[in-house]
Amino acid sequence: MHINRKIVRRICQATVALSFIAIPWLNMHDIRFVTGNLLSFEFLKIPFADPLAALQVWVSTGHMAITPALGAMLVLTLAVAMGPVFCGWICPYGLMADLVGKLPPRRTTTPSSKAWYIKGTVALIVVGALALTGAPPLLNQLSLPGWYTRTMQMLWLYGVIPAGFWLLPFAACLDLGGGRRFWCRYICPQSLLLQLAGRILPYRFRVVYDPGRCICKDQSPSPCSQACPYGLDPRERAIHPECTNCGDCVVRCAHFGHALSQGFAKRQ
């Protein structure tokens, strides 16, 4: 079997999903080189934190501890260089959404680039309200990677499934009804900061299109945009903020003239 990046990505996603089942078990046995969940995570003393969680604590309390600040910076640095790769390569719900997207009622997502701005505005209002009311980090409760890993913690610690776990099948049903990656596109608040970070630098890791090699210019929808979990058109010159660099379009294009590749290039 030829190893393409789609298989590598699946292995990566599955490894993360399985690791977070194992981590609470390791902690229970006093093996603590890795602790926490996808809201705040520590590996060999290197902190990683959900940037949105850190931001919410910061606006609602007015100060930030060094650990989550450093953790959020590390995560955002990756997003500055490569966009929201978390969503395509790491997020456990991303794996679930990809698999759900393969189920029979295959509705192709209508690429609505406006969705991103609407979601951003709503999240901005919520974060602004936190600053005024000093409420707890509410958006964490909508984080599916958060709930996946929190469920595993609670299962190992007390043998119960928290109510928030049921958001995962609920989101999968939304994806089935509303199109692939419905939750990720229209609801998930966590991806927002990663997507914003991906728009900072003029150069970053992206999908690069070579029109000279493309053999399906006249096709609409093209094979590459059909392969995209978000229904984006990889042939556009500017990177769409939602592109997770998952590389599915590149894998598909390998059968259609190798016009797409991934590498560091101009963002616009």
Binding site: S40, G134, P137, R150, P162
Partner: protein
């Protein structure tokens, strides 16, 4: 009535909830499985830690503070844990009743000789240094010890003022 405590070093409840990002590291670090994570759907509290002293009291090992990444639980010493306080009902206590010389609460108190002292070497007495970990409340065979959380204590102080 079940009463819930916040982990040692959490301090004021409102401030604590603002800072807690639901990572569960405190529960994972707890050596006595005292810290539980809230299960429900309430967006304000779901996934935040609590201690139910009736099921498993806090033994003040103080591992949760250093484990907390955001400082929602401060890393403190035992004497500053400030979770609440305990009261002894002398009418119900075996020792005071003269039934039997019981010093279970004294023996089990993580801060014995500070939070619980033996008056005349015999009679247990809870001092002002008690931080409300709930161990005495949990172990007392006579259920003679009442535990009050920091929040209840403050509400009481406010209503009396």
């Amino acid at each position: 009535m079940s009463m819930k405590l916040l982990p040692p070093g959490a301090g004021d409840r409102e401030r604590f909830l603002q800072n807690c990002i639901h990572c569960g590291k405190c529960a994972e670090s707890c050596r006595f499985d005292a810290i539980k994570l809230t299960k429900g759907l309430d967006p304000l509290t779901a996934g935040t830690p609590y201690i139910d002293p009736k099921k498993a009291p806090c033994f003040l090992c103080m591992h949760c503070g250093p484990a907390c990444p955001t400082g929602a639980i401060s890393a403190l010493e035992q004497k500053d844990a400030d979770m609440g306080t305990a009261f002894l009902n002398k009418d119900q206590c075996f020792t005071y009743m003269g039934a039997v010389l019981c010093r279970t609460c004294f023996e089990k108190c993580p801060m014995r000789n500070t939070a619980i002292v033996l008056k005349n070497g015999t009679y247990p007495e809870i001092t002002d240094d008690c931080v409300g970990c709930g161990v005495c409340h949990y172990v007392c065979p006579q259920h003679a010890i009442t535990l009050i959380s920091r929040e209840q204590l403050q509400a009481k102080v406010r209503s009396e003022a």
